[in-house]
Subunit: 498 residues, 2 copies
């Protein structure tokens, strides 16, 4: 229905855009005309269109509306993957993380990163750039070490777990009990008293294994252990310890807890199975301080027609205190910035407001996003879509999406715009620590679907640096992020909730 | 020609052996009869056969001789891959390296490992178990650290290089010059004076990259640098520094030198390209001590007919002082032991002597094997084949072989006996630090050809542990090693040198 007045313009524009012989300004101008035409058409059709999602339009009509974004999508892809935006998210991220390093909740470097990002977003010409105050945990690992004293002297690589208490200054020296599961710990409960429990749980998948990091100390303390050392939750190891948050439980004594390497966990398991007595001296200077002041960092492209309505794109700016926080979650934060940056550079302005949020203190359990939700939840009905990238920005294959069936088929149409780079999958269960509050509230949510092959080898380790990042893969991820956020923000209607 | 008297026995034996319904003793007995028949046949044929390789036999005749080892090969494969020998080399190795840890030249743990191995080989019932004295380098790394002071504070993982001098106790604090090649260092020579040179050479392959580890300090010292830090020679990194030997040059000042991680080398390269001033404080407690006493560890199965003639199988027992020295070269040493162990367990005794040598101080430049060669080279003409496994014991696909064409076609026939496990390749350029002395002397040499995919990710790093080893792959490697060494040692003639 919209296709006929359009059919002459489209091939011309497509050729001009894809040929990339245009100057940036000419391209912007043509795109604005083009986008204008597309957007006026529904109004000219005389149909009753409502920004609140109550339209009676058929899916066929919505499908046709989305199809008209083909050239915008191509322009975004060209700009991001082959054009001026190429490698930009990678290079911007490298500059930040080389400059400030890792960004632990409560640290000076996180503060500095937020400051720099505020300047970056302002310098980039985004709108409504501001900081929203958040109280966040402040824990520091201090000096830490673990030395095996028996059956032989062996200095072990460890990483204390976030929120863990420290040991006395002289450390804890105790015999080790190695178990491979909570069940085994239960069965051997009486043996654990006064010992250091070592968990050598298998890595079948992240969700299963991470329980030992989260609850290992509590379960060990329940049976009288003095400390717990947990096999790093890693799919592959080159003697690399991983960290992460852990949780104490009311009424259960707090004991120090750290991750050891896969290699040392397996070695102690072999030693124990041979009947060797294993003794470890563990020293941890870990300490918690009063909550610190921090901020969620916000920037927008204000909507042209429904500015009160929001499509939110996000990643978190904080990280663990090792490596560079490049993969977790520099990449997600920077493709989110890139989405707005590209849309602005192409002179596009969607009907709804595109809001970038760089969360603080995600690693402490979504602290920044939780406070953001509390602050903004009254406005929940105005959120069309919440997007989060926090599982890598490796080779993307599409999105994971949570929402009604009607919303899903719209999302599938939008993703078909990414056919030129063959990234069109829409799987179920879109989620993320920082958007789940909204999803539980009924807002449609999308997370980036990318190749997780290497992710858990580097996650929360010293290896989370720019070396693992791939500029080309980040370009593709940024293109997905920009196309989806722009088109959803610009569609005549919000994503339907039912 | 040997086939007819044999054709009835063969299928029966094969069925019995492959059916594995036999007891160990019955199998040994049958194998002895079988092997006896095979070996008497050439003598019965009336041909002039010489143990010194001067026979006039045709290749066709040798080929037939080798074909008769099909059942012996199957018995070895069955025992090693599916039978009683399954996983034995892995488990024996795990016990040693868990017990003594890494085994640096000149260290107490190498001494202890040699002691244990002597007991192991005696306990295994091998013959002529003895130690051959060797003087070896004694270098210790001591405490070491590198901290980036500018443009931001960053504790870097390093590993000092073998034979490096230390720094003064207060360390060396200096600005950094980052180069990506020796050529660039030459061009920027005057900039290097008074600085710490950081090499960020690319990893194209090991041989190319390792030159920077070997000669980086000398080249940097030539242009007046105070120290050199070299990107670890690694195909893949999770922030893992790698060590290895380096060499000073007469007349060039000695400066401290260490490897940094791939990640830090790349980061400093990015920083430098942005014009950042980089300052590092390097502290190294490295020190060389007078040469230490050590030993090559030797065991044999004495030859039944030509005991003075030798097939040598080998790997090295020393390692770097990080990880467990499991991959480099625990695996090679232990499949070499396993080869003799299996042959003995199956009650086989070849005509020539099978000699196992576990070299000491290979990592310091083949120190043990060089002294062995000096001691035994007068007997060089009696060495039929020298074998070394020192590039991993991952999934094997065959051998690399150096020798005459006549020897090569014999080796190809021998390898065809490994058809049941599909490991039959014979590539060119068999070599190894510890056997090259012999190869240069004209002795045919073979090295294990296996899947190197992971090797240089772990080599000389904290990650060289049992975790990277695979018992099934070690079984296959041991089967190759046992079949080749036994058959070559048992053939009526030595491998021809021309």
């Amino acid at each position: 229905m919209f296709s006929s007045p359009f059919s002459m313009l489209q091939p011309v524009l497509e050729k001009m855009i894809l040929g990339r012989k245009l100057t940036g300004k000419t391209m912007k101008f043509l795109l604005l005309i083009f986008v204008g035409v597309v957007h006026l058409l529904p109004l000219a059709s005389g149909k009753a269109i409502h920004g609140n999602g109550t339209s009676q339009r058929t899916f066929q009509e919505i499908k046709e509306e989305i199809a008209h974004y083909g050239d915008v999508a191509k322009a975004i892809i060209n700009f991001t993957v082959y054009g001026k935006g190429q490698n930009r998210s990678y290079e911007r991220l490298a500059l930040l993380v080389d400059t400030v390093g890792p960004r632990l909740s409560g640290s000076k470097s996180l503060e500095k990163a937020i400051e720099i990002m505020q300047q970056n977003l302002q310098g980039d010409g985004l709108e409504n750039v501001h900081l929203e105050p958040v109280k966040i945990p402040h824990w520091e690992r201090g000096e830490e070490s673990a030395v095996m004293l028996e059956p032989r002297i062996h200095k072990m690589a460890i990483l204390g777990l976030g929120s863990s208490i420290g040991t006395p200054p002289e450390g804890i020296t105790a015999e080790v009990l190695v178990v491979t599961s909570f069940d085994e710990l239960q069965r051997r409960g009486p043996d654990a008293k006064g010992k250091i429990v070592v968990y050598n749980q298998p890595y079948t998948n992240y969700s299963a294994a991470v329980q030992y990091r989260m609850e290992g100390a509590v379960e060990a303390a329940k049976v009288g252990a003095l400390a717990s050392l947990i096999r790093s939750v890693a799919s592959f190891s080159i003697y690399s310890p991983h960290t992460g948050i852990q949780e104490y439980q009311n009424g259960v004594p707090k004991i120090p807890t750290a991750c050891i390497t896969v290699e040392d966990a397996e070695m102690m398991s072999r030693m124990a199975s041979r009947g060797n007595k294993i003794v470890i001296q563990l020293k941890m200077g870990a300490k918690s301080y009063p909550d610190a002041d921090s901020f969620n960092t916000v920037a927008e492209i204000t909507g042209s027609k429904y500015p009160e309505q929001i499509v939110l794109v996000s990643g978190h700016l904080d990280s663990w205190d090792v490596g560079q926080g490049a993969l977790d979650d520099g990449g997600g934060a920077f493709i989110s910035w890139e989405a707005l940056s590209v849309i602005k550079d192409l002179g596009l302005r969607p009907k709804r407001t595109l809001r970038l949020v760089l969360w603080t203190a995600e690693e402490q359990g979504g602290v920044g996003s939780s406070q953001y939700y509390q602050l903004h939840k009254a406005n929940s009905s105005n959120y069309s879509l919440v997007m989060e990238s926090d599982l890598g920005t490796f080779l993307p294959s599409g999105l994971k999406f949570t929402g009604s069936n009607s919303a899903r088929i719209i999302m599938e149409e939008v993703m078909s715009l990414l056919q030129p780079i063959n990234i069109t999958q829409v799987l179920k269960n879109g989620d993320g620590t920082d958007i789940n509050f909204w999803i539980q509230d009924g807002v449609p949510g999308a997370s980036l679907l990318d190749d997780l092959y290497k992710y858990f080898s580097f996650h929360h380790s010293h290896g989370d640096t720019m070396t693992v990042m791939d500029p080309k893969q980040m370009n593709l991820a940024a293109a997905v992020w920009a196309v989806v956020s722009y088109v959803i923000a610009d569609l005549e209607e919000m994503l339907p909730r039912s």
